[in-house]
């Protein structure tokens, strides 16, 4: 009995060692690719930063109005954004080479599937980025308008607007990517329905007085900003 177990173990070890040895060149090659790729990404980032600064990209972007758009998305520097883009391209290329070095067949299959998925991915990311920008613009417009119209809960309204736009465009992006095609719209409908129902119940039943006081307090709208006799110009 023990003899059989020992034979099985020896055979398993020999197979593992043989396969590992046969894979070793691939692993070493992939590690080499990884190291070179990371080094190239860092170097390319530095070169790109140097060239972009030399060509005054920041000032040109500001003149073209790109900076203000980036700022609205929370990106404070056009140069940093472009450098990061270059590094991402290098990282993707490195990842592909590492995969090819490990298993060319698997890598080819993954690459093919990736490129087939790429248009959907690009559109999905595009939808989400536009959604983020739109959410920021809409939130700010609501905030300024609410403050100027004397609405107490201005920040709450602005946050709600921003959140609603992000949720909506996020759901659209996921739908484009084919992730949770049936779950995401259903979840969105349930969420919106739930919020509406909760608000209706709160206003209609138990919290009627509280909500009434809250609304009166928070959404109390004083006279318009120009209700004085004063002629401003």
């Amino acid at each position: 009995m023990w003899q059989v177990v020992r034979q099985v173990l020896e055979q398993a070890w020999r197979q593992f060692a043989a396969q590992s040895l046969s894979m070793l060149p691939n692993v070493l090659a992939s590690l080499l690719f990884l190291v070179i790729g990371v080094a190239l990404a860092v170097a390319a980032g530095r070169v790109a930063r140097f060239l972009l600064r030399r060509s005054a990209v920041e000032r040109r972007a500001s003149r073209l109005g790109v900076t203000s758009w980036l700022e609205r998305a929370g990106i404070l520097s056009a140069t940093a954004a472009l450098v990061r883009l270059v590094q991402i391209v290098f990282a993707l290329m490195t990842a592909a080479l590492v995969l090819y070095a490990l298993d060319a067949e698997l890598a080819a299959d993954l690459t093919r599937r990736f490129f087939l998925y790429l248009p959907d991915l690009a559109v999905g990311i595009g939808i989400f980025v536009v959604g983020l920008l739109a959410a920021r613009v809409a939130g700010r417009s609501v905030l300024i308008g609410a403050v100027n119209h004397g609405i107490g809960a201005a920040r709450l309204l602005a946050t709600g607007t921003r959140g609603a736009v992000i949720v909506l465009t996020g759901a659209m992006a996921l739908d484009q990517l084919g992730i949770g095609k049936s779950i995401v719209p259903s979840a969105l409908i349930i969420l919106l329905g739930g919020v509406t129902l909760a608000a209706a119940l709160a206003v209609g039943f138990g919290s009627r007085d509280t909500v009434g006081r809250w609304l009166d307090d928070r959404l109390r709208r004083p006279a318009p900003a120009d209700a004085d006799d004063i002629q401003h110009w």
Partner: protein, 436 residues
């Protein structure tokens, strides 16, 4: 676009019938049936009384009123009904209404009036608002005489107003344009102006009539263009300005955007002109200056302070992207002070306006949102001004405004630094940019 292209064929036909004119008085209007009759009558009487031998035309450019404004203009009786006349007109005064084309707004109405004045070869042109209740025939004389005697090209109005009226003019537009261009024009956005034919032609040649200037901001644009175009500028003392009650639905933030947005765009267009200006000069005032009784003005300071505090609380992020950290701290401190002790001092106010101008320049899109976001700040400044001047008379208020103007002039280097930092020093200083 030449003058004939701007005017509709029917209008051109009417102008061809008239041939030529010495004077054109333009009245832009929209829903002004209640007041325009008085304005037309004052214009007719003024023309008949002071310029009896001149060939005169009164032109009403209407923006599609549905309250019968054009009918009031057509039916307003002529100067022969005026009882007290120094002289009778030697020539009939032509009077007619035309609809204007292009973008809706006062600017498009002015363009139509200017095109008609040019087509008629009018030596002098005046424009007056259609909602005026205090206009007298003397206004027409004062606005046109400096043009007709050939000594000036542009006549700006000089009114007496209640100490709390015209707060945008007093706290921003007058001191800012004075510091920028060096001319002390007290009412740069008054609404009533006189112009020579060369200046009218200059206006018509500018490529702004398809921009926001055609909708609004025309008053400050005209004043600034007259100054920057080196036309001879003067002021006419018109007494009190009383006009019809404002539209209660009008949005003050939109008005602020209209006025300040145009001022800032003009700063971009005329940067080469204002950057070197380091001193200001008086602009002559025509007309006998006298004191008048003014209608009382009710101001709800508490509501203004509430508005300011909401801005400090909720708009800090947007303000922080324009204003310095120390100034933000000063605003928070002002908001935290008790109601009657709210104070936004001149130096702070001037820096905020200059920072806003620089931020407006830096941002290429959605610039108007920046100006809209400063409405609470403006309300705070007005509240501070009203509290400070509560017991002051007109002369003391004027002296106070003079100190504010000095603060704008003293800090102009700060504006230059902020302005240049917004985009780097201008590369084409000698070439004005087109207003977008």
């Amino acid at each position: 676009m030449s003058a004939p292209d701007i005017l509709a064929p029917a209008v051109r036909g009417r102008l061809d019938q008239i041939g030529r004119a010495d004077i054109v008085v333009g009245i832009p209007s929209y829903q002004s049936a209640a007041t325009i009759g008085h304005v037309v009558q004052a214009a007719q009487t003024g023309l008949a009384k002071y310029f009896p031998s001149a060939q005169s035309v009164i032109l009403n450019a209407d923006g599609g009123s549905t309250d019968g404004t054009p009918a009031v203009v057509e039916s307003t009786s002529g100067p022969d009904t005026v009882l007290v006349m120094v002289s009778q007109p030697e020539r009939p005064i032509q009077r007619f209404t035309i609809p204007y084309h292009g973008l809706p707004g006062k600017g498009s109405a002015f363009r139509t009036i200017f095109a008609a004045a040019e087509a008629l070869g009018a030596t002098a042109c005046a424009v007056v608002d259609s909602d005026l209740r205090s206009i007298t025939p003397e206004w027409i004389h004062l606005l046109l005489a400096p043009i007709l005697d050939g000594t000036h090209d542009y006549v700006a109005p000089y009114y007496l107003r209640h100490k709390f009226d015209g707060t945008i003019t007093n706290n921003v537009v007058y001191p800012l344009t004075r510091a920028l261009y060096g001319k002390r024009i007290r009412q740069p956005i008054g609404g009533e102006f006189g112009m020579s034919l060369p200046l009218v032609r200059h206006y018509l040649r500018q490529a702004v009539w398809e921009t926001d200037v055609a909708r609004f901001g025309i008053d400050i644009w005209m004043t600034t263009e007259a100054v920057c175009g080196d036309f001879r500028v003067c002021q006419a003392f018109l007494g009190a300005k009383i006009h019809n009650a404002k539209d209660p639905g009008a949005d003050l933030s939109a008005m602020l955007v209209q006025v300040l947005g145009t001022v800032f765009r003009l700063m971009e267009a005329h940067e080469a002109r204002w950057q070197p200006v380091r001193a200001t000069e008086a602009v002559p005032v025509f007309g006998f200056q006298y004191g008048v009784g003014l209608e009382p003005v009710h101001v709800d300071v508490g509501r203004m302070i509430d508005h300011f505090r909401r801005g400090v609380r909720d708009l800090a992020e947007i303000w922080g992207s324009m204003f310095g950290r120390d100034d933000m701290a000063r605003l928070r401190s002002a908001a935290a002070s008790g109601g009657d002790s709210l104070a936004i001092g001149d130096d702070l106010w001037v820096r905020l306006i200059y920072d806003l101008a620089a931020a407006y320049r830096r941002r290429a899109s959605d610039r108007d949102a920046l100006v809209r976001a400063t409405l609470p700040l403006y309300m705070g400044r007005v509240a501070s001004f009203v509290l400070e001047m509560a017991g002051a008379d007109a002369a003391e208020v004027e002296a106070r405004l003079e100190r504010l103007c000095s603060a704008f002039e003293a800090q102009k280097d700060y504006l230059r630094r902020r302005w240049d930092a917004a985009h780097g020093p201008p590369s084409r200083r000698g070439r004005p940019r087109r207003i977008a």
